[in-house]
Amino acid sequence: MTDRKTPHLDELEKGPWPSFVREIKKSSKSPMVRDLLGQLERSYTEKRGHWKHGGLVGVKGYGGGVIGRYNDLPEEFPEVTEFHTVRVNQPSGWFYTSEALRTLCDIWEQHGSGLTNMHGSTGDIVFLGTKTSELEPIFSKLTAAGYDLGGSGSDLRTPSCCAGPARCEWACYDTMNFTYDVTQTYQDELHRPAFPYKFKIKASGCANDCVASVARSDMSVIGTWRDQIQIDQAQVKAYAQSGKLNIQRDVAGRCPTRCIEWDGTSLKIDDDNCVKCMHCINAMPKALSPGKDRGAAILVGAKAPIVEGALFASVLVPFIKMEPPYEDIKELLGAMWELWSEHGKNRERIGEFIQRIGLGNFLEQIGLEAVPEMVMQPRTNPYIYYDIKN
């Protein structure tokens, strides 16, 4: 298929794990892909990339959804002088039908490299590599087929969620519906960057957090419950008898608050001290399940290191019922975005913003009450900004 020699890359076709090189070659009837292959082989030889900063490219009326890319070897690899990425908003939970996939493939075959990422780290369908001239045609065909672009730049990024109620017994709220709903509600914020920096939303149905929302989203919505863990004692016994699980050591002994008692025949949980970590339920899915009074905790401010250091999201609302149309959450989002957009610095994520102005002030500004659940402990330093009226 390909004409150039790619000794380094060919090496990566070997081995049990599916090979991205084979994937690239599968698409190498596209001249773009042949040049990509050549340029990549050269990178492997020289140990350096050959891409340049993308200037702003995109589709009319949108400020995001396309990542512009140009190479620095236009003479040698002319077909990838322009090689932009198109981010297509995935359906909730990354569910597809064969028909849907084929539709996407056809569009991408006609207008791009035929290479994809299923999916990008934020969750989008990533169409990897096309020319500026193809962007509008791709966009109109996508929308005609019922798809739209995802986020990029300082906008709301494409929300994503775990399979949740579609495929998991532990979902404490409808992650799929919530994600679809906020995505639709905030189309303008998603397509027209108006924030100080990116804002990501991720939704996990329980504390296992299968979309890593606590580490990777500016607003993390994680399912939980307020009442008692449901216990089927007969099934607990079954696990004990199975001999596969040491309930005392591996379940009770690993409960973070040691709130489980196991006397060999029945399991007691002190639910007031249970922190809903999911471990015991994970270990005995047939015997235990989350309580009935379900909802979610809302956390805010996770991000990677740039600039002030990586952050996990921190608790903003310890518990909220997740009922469509999620007005309460949308009010909260509105209040946060307004404050952050007005006072946030350029390229300051909301987690960094909150630390700069102080969580106490942030709460006051967005009209949320301070509760001890928001902190691991009260302040230890005596530098208190008392404000005394007079």
């Binding site: 996407l104 299923m118 780290s121 929308t143 679809y180 990586a310």
Partner: protein, 362 residues
């Protein structure tokens, strides 16, 4: 300027319901429990008694449309055309008929997309663009991931570890792979200050925002042969590349010195222990394409030592916390250096501020 024919915009993604198989539609939110009948297969049982078999297969994430068409064909053959992808870029075929499970697994293997990745093992590696598409990359992503997964493959096919081992890769400190909370994080790093092209800088970059981009204040405004430009105080530079992100004329790429660092003990889930960041294990290994042997063997060794010493349900970070970091460095034979000691903003919070020391001489 206004358009003649109304252009379709802001329609968002299609509604997910269109894509759910009947067994899911009927039992949506009514799942009772699940089992793992074999590695790579999940059987979810609904209150109604209905069953769903999810067959999880490996993908390289970077895929040709030819492969997506292949998956579609297999989905049509074995499960009415229903499939999904996971948050770690595996593909899952959604079957309501147990009889099709084994045949599908056979076909997937034959096509080169082996089944696995469930339970207490190693699953797909969350990763990024690397030399395939990003300007920032200090290494390739796909190549390192391919080499690592070839090495770790047995743990993908068989969940034979104490707990899940989540591996992630990112090709620069922007960490698009979100490696900051993984059991094993592979992070490509630059190790030299940016090279400034003053002539281009004047046109390409906004000086205030470039200065503001530097976490350590190493970037300063300066006049270079008459023109307003920028200077970098090299002793203050820790090579994060954030200046380059906002200013293309400050390039970081450096074939000699770019390479890879390895981090351990992070986790995301709230199960048992609260989420933990990954901590530095190996400050630097060379970029050695196409197979990165130094990196793959270091990672393999970390997994082996963990597998040999951790207790059931203990994630890498939980295990290390139990035995203590001194013991971790002893068991792995890794060297502890000044690089391992934090010296950024909150460094002091990581110092040992007690005498809780194991003191074991052995």
């Amino acid at each position: 300027m206004a358009e003649p024919t109304k252009r379709k915009t802001d329609i968002g993604p299609p509604h997910y319901e269109k894509f759910l198989p009947p067994v899911i539609k009927q039992n949506y939110g009514k799942w009772k429990y699940h089992e793992m009948p074999r590695p790579g297969v999940l059987m979810h049982v609904a209150e109604s008694g209905a069953k769903l078999w999810s067959v999880r297969a490996a993908t390289p994430r970077l895929m040709s449309i030819e492969t997506l068409r292949l998956f579609s064909k297999l989905a049509d053959e074995f499960c009415g055309g229903y499939l999904r992808f996971t948050s770690r870029n595996n593909v899952e075929f959604l079957l309501d008929n147990e009889k099709n499970v084994e045949p599908l697994i056979g076909r997937l293997k034959q096509e080169g997309y082996p089944v696995g990745g469930t339970g207490a093992g190693v699953t797909n590696i969350v990763h990024t663009q690397g030399w395939v598409h990003c300007h920032s990359a200090a290494s390739d992503a796909s190549g390192v991931v391919k080499s690592l997964m070839d090495e770790l493959f047995p743990h993908f096919e068989r969940p034979d570890l104490p707990a899940k081992v989540r591996v992630a890769f990112a090709c620069c400190l922007n960490m698009c792979g979100a490696v900051h909370a993984s059991d094993i994080a592979v992070l490509a790093v630059h190790r030299k200050p940016p090279k400034i092209d003053h002539s281009r800088l004047v046109k390409q970059c906004e000086i205030p925002s470039t200065v503001a981009a530097c976490p350590t204040g190493a970037v300063r405004p300066a006049t270079v042969d008459g023109k307003q430009s920028i200077q970098v105080i090299e002793e203050q530079c820790m090579f994060c590349g954030n200046c380059f992100t906002v200013c293309p004329s400050m390039t970081m790429a450096d074939p000699e010195n770019d390479g890879i660092s390895i981090w351990v003990g992070g986790k995301v889930s709230n199960a048992r222990h609260e989420p933990m960041f990954s901590k530095l294990a190996i400050p630097y290994l060379p970029n050695n394409p196409p197979r990165w042997p130094e990196v793959t063997s270091a990672v393999k060794q970390l997994v082996d030592v963990y597998a040999a010493n951790a207790r059931p349900f203990e994630r890498m970070g939980e295990w290390i916390e139990r035995i203590g970091w001194p013991k971790f460095f002893k068991l792995t034979g890794l060297e502890f250096t000044k690089y391992h000691i934090d010296d950024f903003r909150h460094a002091g919070e990581s110092f040992r501020r007690s005498t809780h020391l194991r003191q074991s001489q052995g």
